[in-house]
């Protein structure tokens, strides 16, 4: 099949990034330039959803990192609310995480110590980073090939960030008025910065999917339905309807009815 060959090649290129990068979760390979994070680079996270992106990056290294690709170590500095269970759901191994919840004003020393040992440090600077600390930590990260991932209020103050990730068009599934439960969130992950020039790169993902993992969001086809009556030649088979699955619509209706009942 000659026409399948380029597609296979493209898939292979996406699926197997060069070994010189710090790996990310497979779902994020399309959005991160080069299919992986550049060793020694600084990545900035921001906006709503930054915590989930941080978890996903940690999970990628923890699952696919290491010298033999069997799992690498990550450090988390200054993020006392780090959702370990969510990271484990995305594929991280909790036993390969080092958490420093309260580094205080010694955070540059803590990050410097971690840079030499782990592949990725997720850092929430507790204060405006000083120029000396920025220079020292950036140089250490470059030398040891450790990716410095910044989150929190001072992430934008860090100079020399070549890749910024954020989340757009987030929509949670599964919750209605008074019933249901959160099952998953569809987002657009956007990569911007000098490493992703122009309008940036985008990917539609489940972050997280109902089973807690991170998955590409394949376009949802509307479910097949029986169409009453005869179908004229050339007429559309699907009635014009929103892209949402029917289940959610039914749920809302039931919810409305329950609410009316309560009222």
């Amino acid at each position: 099949m000659p026409e399948a060959a380029p597609r296979d090649l493209a898939a292979a290129l996406v699926a197997a990034p060069s070994t010189a990068t710090v790996p990310v979760l497979p779902a994020l390979r399309t959005v991160v330039p080069g299919g992986g994070l550049r060793p020694g680079s600084v990545v900035g996270l921001g906006g709503p959803g930054a915590a989930s992106l941080g978890l996903a990056l940690v999970a990628g290294v923890s699952r696919h990192g290491g010298e033999d690709g069997e799992g690498g170590w990550c450090g988390v500095v200054g993020v006392p609310g780090f959702g370990v269970a969510a990271a484990a759901g995305m594929g991280a191994e909790p036993e390969r995480l080092l958490l420093v919840d309260e580094p205080g004003d010694r955070w540059p020393d803590v990050v410097a110590a971690l840079c030499e040992a782990v592949e990725l440090v997720l850092l929430c600077p507790p204060e405006r980073p000083g120029a000396a600390a920025v220079r020292r930590l950036s140089a250490l990260a470059r030398r040891h090939g450790c990716v410095l991932t910044l989150t929190g209020a001072f992430a934008r103050e860090w100079p020399g960030v070549r890749l910024r990730l954020h989340v757009a068009d987030a929509a949670w599934d599964g919750l209605a008025a008074g019933h249901g439960r959160l099952t998953g969130r569809r987002v657009q992950v956007v990569a911007e910065g000098r490493d992703a020039p122009g309008a940036g790169r985008r990917a539609a993902l489940w972050l997280p999917a109902p089973d807690g993992t991170v998955r590409p969001d394949e376009a949802v086809r509307p479910p097949l339905e029986l169409v009453p009556g005869a179908v004229a030649d050339g007429a559309p088979v699907h009635p014009p309807r929103g892209p949402r699955p029917v289940r959610a619509a039914v749920g809302e209706r039931i919810g409305d009815r329950i609410e009316e009942g309560i009222a």
Partner: protein
């Protein structure tokens, strides 16, 4: 029959937690009095009482949690002082040590003389003490507790001495209760029963108690040499001003320490390095000692020094005057076996980084998470300091009322307060029957309101209702707001918290 001398320090658990005998105080375990001082006893406090009852009888009661480690540690000097008189001392339990009396009694000029000598020795070591000499350990312990500072029960007189004691001294409540209902109230009555029948009716343990009551020994003394103190110490005269001097001494000390451990076939899990300064300050820090070399120990001492000096740059503290390395948690040295495949081992690089962070922030500064069972997202993670063993024996579940679905990305350690209001602006209330007063409409966090677009709940969680101090009754909700955020809220005692954020 061997003659046994027992030295007994009264109310040792209370003494060990630092309560003076003259102050009414008690050492408690799980809300029950484990030991109390004489002053507390005079006020009506008894062993085994519930703490609340004890406090009702003696409102000024000083209460401390029982500390078994301190009991053993503090008793060591007492046992040592006694061992200076006669070498073979058995520490029966902290607070009670025994020695074979026959030889030392001849050396020191009689049993009464030996008894008084031991008593004086322990009192000189700083603790109140009663001593008694009798046939066998059981009678000797009661003799030590008897009267004012104990006494000597003559050879062959144990049965007569014991006869008037109540059955409770046997420390077998079930047996004592049964015998009491059979009309047997003292050890003398019990000893008068034929031993064959006692063994047939009460089994091996009953037979053992019967032997005790008749003044016979259940077992001979098993004196062991007190474990040698393996800690090593070095002084500096004049005080060392430079870290290099201290680190150099640390290397030599570590070598000595390892020799001492190896001679005893032991290994230590942790190592305490203490550095004393000329002005009396002491820096103490526990280090994981997992087969460290002497050089690595010296390096840790260097980190310990360097981590503390920059913080107090002006205070020189007058230089280092002494350095002590003490092994902690001794275990038999079984060698080390590295994992073969598929096991996560902490590599040297990781261990070094963790050690450096622990030098900066303390032992609990860097942790590894362990996932355990639990209902809320915050209860599912235990953070274990690097180098410590993960907790074992945690309950497996099931956890009814567990939060299912994807786990939240942010679990704040202290849930912040939040306000949840309905469409009319009134706070949403959940009744005891888990009825929601009105559908929530706005969620205000730090004064910024957001409209609620979806909500679900309440999911009640009534935890540890059997324990008044730790009981928690909550109802959880999941809420989404119009800015795209999703929260796990909990209402407890009428107050709303953000337990986790699905960020």
């Amino acid at each position: 029959m061997t003659r046994v001398l027992v030295a007994w320090c009264p109310d040792w658990p209370a003494t060990a937690v630092g309560i003076d005998a003259a102050t009414p105080g008690a050492a408690v375990v799980q809300g029950q009095v484990a030991a109390c001082t004489a002053a507390a006893r005079a006020a009506g406090v008894r062993r085994g009482q519930r703490l609340r009852d004890a406090q009702r009888r003696c409102p000024g009661l000083v209460v401390r949690e029982r500390d078994a480690d301190a009991e053993g540690r503090l008793f060591e000097p007492v046992a040592e002082a006694v061992a200076a008189l006669t070498p073979r001392v058995e520490v029966v339990r902290p607070g009670l040590c025994a020695l074979a009396a026959r030889g030392p009694a001849r050396f020191y000029g009689g049993e009464e003389a030996l008894r008084v000598l031991v008593q004086d020795t322990v009192v000189e070591a700083g603790h109140d003490c009663g001593t008694g000499v009798a046939d066998g350990l059981f009678a000797a312990e009661l003799a030590a507790r008897a009267g004012d500072g104990g006494g000597v029960v003559p050879a062959g007189g144990a049965a007569a001495f014991l006869a008037r004691y109540p059955l409770s001294v046997l420390d077998r409540p079930e047996l004592a209760d049964l015998l009491r209902r059979l009309g047997i109230k003292t050890l003398g009555d019990f000893a008068a029963l034929p031993s064959g029948h006692v063994a047939g009716r009460f089994g091996a343990d009953g037979a053992l108690a019967h032997r005790l009551a008749r003044g016979e020994e259940p077992r001979p003394l098993a004196p062991a040499r007190a474990a040698a103190d393996l800690s090593v110490r070095s002084g500096f005269e004049p005080p060392a001003e430079r870290a290099e001097q201290v680190v150099f001494a640390a290397k030599r000390l570590a070598g000595e320490l390892h020799e001492g451990l190896a001679a005893g076939g032991l290994a230590c899990v942790r190592l305490e390095a203490a550095v004393g300064f000329a002005d009396g300050r002491v820096l103490r820090r526990l280090w994981r000692h997992d087969g460290l070399s002497a050089l690595a120990v010296a390096e840790r001492v260097r980190w310990q020094l360097s981590a503390h000096q920059p913080a107090d740059a002006e205070a020189v503290w007058g230089g280092v005057t002494w350095l002590e390395l003490a092994p902690d948690q001794l275990v038999p040295d079984e060698g080390r076996q590295e994992g073969l495949w598929g096991r996560t081992s902490v590599t040297d690089r990781i261990a070094r980084a963790a050690d450096r962070i622990q030098a900066l922030l303390g032992h609990h500064g860097v942790t590894r998470p362990v996932l355990v069972g639990g209902r809320g997202p915050g209860e599912r993670v235990v953070r274990v300091p690097v180098g410590d063993l993960a907790p074992g024996g945690l309950p497996e579940g099931p956890w009814p009322g567990r939060i299912t679905g994807p786990a939240p990305a942010v679990v704040p350690p202290v849930p912040p307060d939040v306000e949840l209001a309905d469409a009319s602006g009134a706070a949403v209330v959940v009744s005891a029957r888990c009825e929601v007063s009105a559908p929530p409409a706005t969620l205000a966090f730090r004064g910024r309101p957001a409209a609620v677009t979806g909500w679900t709940g309440p999911w009640p969680a009534d935890e540890r209702w059997w324990d008044a101090d730790r009981a928690r009754r909550r109802a959880r909700f999941q809420v989404t707001t119009d800015d795209g955020a999703a929260y796990l809220l909990a209402v407890e005692g009428g107050r709303w918290h953000i337990e986790a954020v699905y960020d």
